[in-house]
Amino acid sequence: MSLCIAGMGWVTPLGSGVNPVWRRLLQGDESAPESIEESPGHRSYSIFRVPDSALASLKPHPRLRRASAISRFATAAGLEALEDAGINLDPENAKKIALVFAVSNGGVIYTKRFYRDIVESGPQSASPLFFPETVFNAPASHLAAILGITGTTYTLVGDGAVGLLAVRMAEDLMANQELDHCLVVGAEEADWVLCDAYRKWRLLRVHPPIEPFSKTTRGTILSEGAGAIVLGREGPIRIERTHAGGYYRKRNETELVITQILSELAKNKIDIVISSANGTFIDKAESGAISAVIPRAQVYTEKPALGESVGAGGLWQIIAGAKSLIAAELPPLLHLTAEIPLHVSATRAVIPGSQRAVVISCGLNQQVAGICLAATP
């Protein structure tokens, strides 16, 4: 079965729109940090937020009136991807498109607010308006309603690998020839409570930058946004191979699991690797695996520029991989501090004749997945 990326949509802290964001990445731009503090006395953290301007073109819809930020990000990215694929949904072709939504932390802002009310004022003060938005599939439900999708809709939950797991699931769904397309969307919203949890998990640094592949892992910076791709039977980028993923039991097994997945994906010459290195323990594991399996490939991670958006991260990587094949170049890898045994470039790198890109996503909570993209001849 041959599947292609027919369209893409991107909502990031560097703005929205695949081409504008890609241009900014090529220029070496990075997201501006915003300091957030929960209440007086609580530690402040830096996050990369999606600017209001990124959603300026999102038309009002009754479903979005009270929806959380994550639903707005997902909707904006999904609509852009469909437009990019040239798909105008009507009741007839809406039956032939599936929606797979990838998420990790979900509607954390409303979840926290709902539970805060319970803790501070008792269950009777908990708002029934917030509770439905705390459910993981709320963004997918809003997006399906806006698009008129009445058939297959799945929400997949996981760690940073969930975006690629969603693509694999979409591939399984597209085995059904009655489906013409599958819209895969990954989204996340950032909040203080997540930052605090990641810091206590020793995975977060308080201030940027994210230093990928650093000898000392100083942690990541959380961000928010969404990425979307439309999978179809035709398109400029082919999904050459997916890996259903795996999990590592302990952190010292991470490199082995990544190595196994890369070995299965790299059946042909790989020109580019889009890594999920984000300033944590996974950088060393990915570096070791890539240098062992695909030592000649040019390696890039967008996370120093865009941050770690977890549920959206895998889709962001795929978009970066697809754009790098289309444009035959990679943005500069920012904040590289160490000599590493990988082909990386701190400046914009042209990669003439590049045919294949492997995307590897290693989550912080045990899951790993990968896919191989190929330029359509």
């Binding site: 479903r63 439905p132 008129g148 939950v157 699931m169 949890a197 999990y247």
Partner: protein, 406 residues
């Protein structure tokens, strides 16, 4: 999903070769069947958190003294969330039935994973606290973690897709796993669902006035709402030819799956019942069955006014006269586990040829014309059964399970 393997045009049949369950009705298939056969009411006062200010005070709960004292493997089970322990119990039972079952994929459903650890963490943060358990709560809070814990416990190293389609998650997981096998892309897939009760979710349904201060009476004229439950269920699905080649017993077949997305409202179904109807019609079509061939429906049947009206309407319009019960009346609504646990009830119904009861039923709803299996289980001749799960976000899913006939 196409009924045929594209490579040779032959229909692939999907066997259930092992199953495991833990719920308020019991630990394991045998205890569960005993509870079903006596229509045991397993809904009790909530003990895990204060419900003093809630309308609803009861739920179906799994006792910790048994759940947390299972035989331990490895060095960290005490850190795991209750949801992990539930799924581990269910998976161990399935693995014990067929130790040679080697899945290529796990597809599991949940709604809230380790939610109560998130609650513990948040309460500590608010007090500017930090206990030695904080990292444990954070690491074990993610929704997908119990699925990975259970796989790890049983030494199963496979990719895992965790579906979170609200209350339809369990049935969606089984349905997707079924389609993965039937498409020929996988030989064996492990599937199921899990959820543990948590304060946030309990209060959430209470705030919506979806849960009841009274007994849970699905499809009753005077129904007043749902009660929550918890549990985990696991089914091992395999290409029937592969199962035959291995010589393993076939417990039942899954033959059909349908799903739909109802865009009417985030929390309420279209009153026309079009969403449930579409899912059930698709499941029947997928199974190649007529509505008359279905002998029993395990309804979603939450006992809320809106759900039971929409589901009842859809069933009544689609099926001539079929026996219907909601087993949530006995154990509450276990959310992401519900579809998996209820699929196992269907499996037991097919194997033991009984119709599970819809307890607490007093009076028929004149607007919902159904043959309810009221209060007592009934002996029956069952060949095909259908299980429904519907959830927030308009997620609707139905599966068809049939008695295995070689």
């Amino acid at each position: 999903m196409s009924k045929s393997n594209a490579s040779n045009g032959k229909t692939i049949r999907v066997a259930v070769v092992a199953a495991g369950v833990v719920s308020p009705l019991g630990f394991g298939l045998e205890e569960t069947f005993v509870s079903l056969s006596v229509a045991r009411d397993c809904v009790t006062p909530v003990t895990r958190f204060s419900v003093a200010q809630c309308r609803c005070k009861t739920a179906g709960q799994i006792p910790d003294d048994r759940l947390l004292n299972q035989e331990r493997k490895g060095g960290r089970p005490e850190r795991l969330h209750r949801a992990s322990h539930m799924l581990i119990c269910a998976l161990r039972e399935a693995v014990a039935q067929d130790p040679e079952f080697r899945p290529e994929l796990a597809v599991i459903g949940t709604t809230s994973g380790g939610m109560s650890y998130g609650e513990d963490y948040y309460r500590t943060v608010r007090q500017h606290g930090n206990t030695r358990r904080t990292p444990t709560w954070i690491a074990n809070y993610p929704a997908q973690k119990p699925a990975i814990d259970a796989l790890e416990d049983c030494g199963i190293s496979v990719p895992c897709q965790v579906i979170a389609n609200a209350c339809a998650s369990g049935t969606n997981a089984i349905g997707h796993a079924f389609e993965c096998v039937r498409s020929g892309r996988y030989e064996r897939v492990l599937t199921g669902g899990y959820d543990a009760i948590s304060e946030l979710v309990f209060v959430g349904f209470d705030s919506l006035h979806a849960s009841t201060p009274e007994k849970c009476r699905p499809f009753d004229r005077h129904r007043t709402g749902m009660v929550l439950g918890e549990g985990a269920g696991i089914l091992a699905l395999e290409n029937l030819e592969s199962a035959r080649a291995r010589g393993v017993p076939v417990l039942a077949e899954i033959t059909g799956y349908g799903l739909s997305t109802d865009n009417f409202h985030l929390t309420q179904p279209d009153p026309s019942g079009s969403g449930p109807r579409q899912a059930m019609e698709q499941a029947l079509k997928s199974a190649g069955l007529s509505a008359e061939s279905v002998d029993y429906i395990n309804a979603h049947g939450t006992a809320t006014t809106f759900n039971d009206a929409a589901e009842g309407k859809a069933i009544a319009e689609l099926f001539e006269r079929v026996s219907v019960s909601s087993t949530k009346s006995m154990m509450g609504h276990s959310l992401g586990a519900a579809g998996a646990v209820e699929a196992i009830f269907c499996l037991l119904a097919l194997q033991r040829q009984i119709l599970p009861a819809n307890i607490n039923f007093r009076a028929s709803d004149e607007n919902v014309d159904l043959d309810i299996v009221a209060n007592e289980p009934r002996p029956a001749h069952l060949r095909a059964v259908l299980s429904n799960s519907f959830g927030f976000g308009g997620a609707n899913a139905s599966i068809v399970m049939q008695k295995f006939e070689a």
